[in-house]
Amino acid sequence: MIRGPQQPSDDPPPSRRSRSLFGSRTEGTPKPLLVLEDVYKYFRRDIPTLRAVNLTVERGEFVFVTGPSGAGKSTLLQLIYRQHGIDGGRILFSGRDISRLTDRSIPFLRRNLGIVFQDFKVVPHWTVFENVAVSLEITGAPQRLIRARVAEALERVGLAGRGNERVEHLSGGEQQRVGIGRAIVTEPALLLADEPTGNLDPALSIDILTLFEEINEAGTTVLFATHDHSLLSASPHRLIVIDDGRLIEATHGLRAWSARTQMSA
């Protein structure tokens, strides 16, 4: 069964119990979940990686972020989970300006996010259970709750009953499912996926995209960065294009954007 974050739970989510800087996902519903206002990021002084980026993501949305390699897709996500700080503008998550967070508060931001990576970032010598449970362990959740939540997350990602297997023995697609399980086990408000299918073959990529869509249908907001046009074509979600550090809302869909980029080339 797929259970969304808005559905009631017997236990409060551990991230809320331990310390929440960002409030409940159901509080203040009119506010957008994520707002970027005039955001700049420089890795080189003369060339901005991101320039004047404005973006609003509503709760429950599924947003594709695409663009050529090196355009700044990953950087955009990294700014949201505060791997890097911004050099201009502001980023509001649940109405809070996360660019002003102190280093000590960043862990508490990340507990409210789920992050999935291209290279999976799973610990190979840990079991599937250990890899998924780690998101809850860091919040100090009791073992009983961890066991229940991990079992549920593994079921959602199609790995039910495989908790005791070591991750290094799994296929790439399965390892990514473990990464997704770890990202959703805390029932985060926002799921950030940074090229999650980049290391997978096309058939598996579609499977993983479908999994993200199921998670989104259950209520979780998803920001999905990819440069794989077959995925963008497969699903009619909102599309954001980053090109040369600028963000373009591709309101007319992938084909219109592709045609425009080909013409400009």
């Binding site: 862990p107 610990v123 919040t139």
Partner: protein, 293 residues
């Protein structure tokens, strides 16, 4: 810090890098063994010095041709002194016999001439007799015709004091070296462990773990390694001490007149607790640069 979670992750760390941790603990055991052995030596040397400096003692060596009457008169004079606790006459034959027994010469004992050692009067003085008074008594006794030489053991005790001071300085230096050793070994072990567990640290940080949460199992690993090494070293030292005690007391003990002792509980506790603290410090120092994710 959630101690049970930290312990469980430290246990997982030991399991994953078992060989690395075993090698580190063995290296630390060697370092702590050196420190423990030095402390044990100084502890027993201190006891010798304390005993000999506390109980003043004179040996009055008699001339070979000393007349028994002169010796008896000298003995009476010595016994009449306020500071004297006891006087014992040791003939040349007795001195030879005691030496042969203590040094265990076996058949070679018969080769020693009968007058190999001079006869002497062993004078035990009462406690708290001042050095100045001992020197006065020695000077007075020296004037007797039957006396060849008076040994006050001042030079010996001075040398013993010097040796003890040098020993204590050496132990201090050794303690510093062992601390550096613990820091270096634990630091390097944790650094290697951190390198092999970088992915784990990265994952923890990206999932929202605080620095304290990431650091805690490594600190525990450092504490456990150093404490376990200190305890193992103490057990090995105790085994060696018990195995050698009989022989040491039969030779050196007979000469110095003390019974050897093992390290006192406070010293042992200090080694284990201090070692653990150095282990934690070594871990903390080596972790700083790996926490930035």
């Amino acid at each position: 810090m959630d101690l049970s979670s930290a312990l469980s992750r430290a246990r997982r760390g030991f399991r994953d890098d078992l060989r690395l941790h075993v090698v580190a603990v063995i290296s630390l055991v060697v370092a702590f063994l050196c420190l423990g052995a030095a402390l044990l030596s100084v502890e027993n040397l201190s006891r010798v010095a304390e005993r000999w400096s506390g109980a003043q003692h004179l040996t009055v060596y008699l001339k070979d041709n000393a007349a028994p009457g002169d010796v008896a008169q000298l003995r009476l004079v010595l016994e009449s002194l306020q500071e004297t606790a006891s006087v014992r006459l040791i003939s040349a034959e007795e001195a030879r016999r005691e030496f042969a027994a203590q040094v265990d010469l076996g058949t070679q004992a018969s080769a020693l001439p009968a007058d190999a050692f001079p006869a002497s009067l062993e004078v035990a003085l009462k406690d708290r007799t001042s050095d100045q008074r001992v020197a006065e008594v020695a000077e007075r006794v020296q004037r007797f015709g039957a006396v060849d030489e008076v040994e006050t053991y001042r030079d010996w005790l001075t040398q013993m004091g010097t040796l003890l001071r040098a020993g204590k300085s050496a132990v201090g230096l050794l303690a510093v070296l062992v601390m550096i050793c613990v820091l270096a070994i634990i630091g390097n072990t944790i650094r290697v462990a951190v390198t092999s567990r970088r992915r784990e640290i990265e994952v923890l940080k990206l999932c929202g773990a605080t620095d304290g949460f990431v650091r805690s199992p490594f600190l525990l690993e450092g504490v456990m390694q150093a404490s376990a090494a200190a305890m193992t070293a103490l057990v090995l030292l105790l085994i060696a001490y018990l195995a050698m005690r009989g022989q040491v007391e039969a030779t050196l003990g007979a000469v110095t007149g003390i019974r050897t002792v093992f390290l006192d509980p406070i010293t042992m506790a200090a080694m284990v607790v201090g070692g653990g603290m150095m282990g934690a410090l070594g871990s903390a120092l080596s972790l700083r640069r790996y926490l930035k994710v």
